[in-house]
């Protein structure tokens, strides 16, 4: 486990793409909300020496998809749309934390918003829509 990840974090990147780009972690719930973290490592970077946007979007998608499953109790939820805004570059070694908020839960869809925070301030904001169950 990377040294700056809390000891009580649970690894959630157990297979496939998540494991390939991970490790990714879930922290114990804070006020009933799940928190997700990962530490920016050498493989997550771009040539300019900052974290690659694809990795931040992938991490947002993982945290938000898990939140969609958590709040609906569904076995699978599929991302239908996702908008990401990049606020500042992320640095090597920074621990990135994802906080996800449910905007609205409907019968077949969940609307979520997320903030990815680095050590000092926000790196990325995201909002998206998830279909409960498999994609149509």
């Amino acid at each position: 486990m990377p040294k700056d990840i809390p000891a009580d974090a649970e690894e959630i990147s157990l297979g496939g793409f998540n494991k390939f780009v991970g490790p990714l972690y879930r922290l114990p719930d804070e006020e009933g909300r799940a928190l997700y973290v990962f530490q920016i490592g050498p493989k997550h970077m771009n040539a300019a020496g900052t974290v690659h946007g694809g990795m931040l979007m992938a991490f947002a998608d993982v945290a938000m998809s898990r939140t969609a499953r958590l709040v609906t109790g569904a076995g699978t939820c599929s991302t239908v749309s996702l908008v990401c805004d990049f606020l500042r570059p992320g640095r090597l070694g920074e621990v990135v934390e994802a906080r996800v908020r449910v905007t609205r839960k409907a019968r077949t869809l969940v609307f979520l918003a997320a903030e990815l925070c680095g050590e000092t301030d926000l790196l990325l904001t995201a909002s998206g829509t998830w279909k409960i169950g498999d994609a149509a």
């Binding site: 157990l14 297979g15 496939g16 793409f17 998540n18 390939f20 780009v21 050498p42 493989k43 997550h44 970077m45 771009n46 040539a47 300019a48 974290v51 690659h52 946007g53 694809g54 990795m55 979007m57 992938a58 991490f59 998608d61 993982v62 998809s65 699978t76 599929s78 991302t79 239908v80 749309s81 996702l82 908008v83 990401c84 805004d85 990049f86 570059p89 498999d134 994609a135």
Partner: protein, 134 residues
């Protein structure tokens, strides 16, 4: 991994793109077509292409197009909007030809329609900042 007929491997500089690649391309200048062959490392536990991988491929392909269009300026993604239309699976080949929607002095507006076997599976629109401009 060998390139499909008519394609060559895209030269990548970003460690994260090298990690999740390779990707392949044909054509030149601002007209390049990019291709990703889906492997086990690109999918989720259900065997479906991971949204994070698709968004990474989109950022890579549209970023390469932005680089072509600015004569190799340093460009960064400001925002990206994704629509996931249909799942793709291991063995599928995803193809995109990025398109320029509009260019201003400091911004590029790009779009990519991603297809598997001629069928649209995903679209991405992104806005890029050209660094070194006011």
């Amino acid at each position: 991994m060998t390139a499909p007929p008519g394609f060559t491997e895209t030269v990548l500089a970003d460690p994260f793109e090298i990690h999740v690649g390779p990707v392949f391309e044909r054509g030149s200048g601002g007209e390049r077509v990019f291709l990703l062959r889906i492997g086990e490392r690109h999918v989720n536990m259900r065997g479906v292409l991971h949204g994070g991988m698709l968004m990474t491929f989109a950022d890579l392909a549209l970023g390469q197009a932005a680089w072509d269009l600015t004569d190799h300026a340093h460009v960064v993604t400001l925002s990206m909007q994704s629509q996931f239309l249909k799942p793709a699976r291991v063995g599928d080949v995803v193809e995109v030809r990025p398109r320029l929607l509009r260019r201003t002095r400091s911004l590029l507006f790009l779009r990519g329609d991603f297809q598997v076997a001629g069928e649209l599976i995903y679209t991405a629109s992104s806005i890029w900042k050209i660094l070194g401009e006011a």
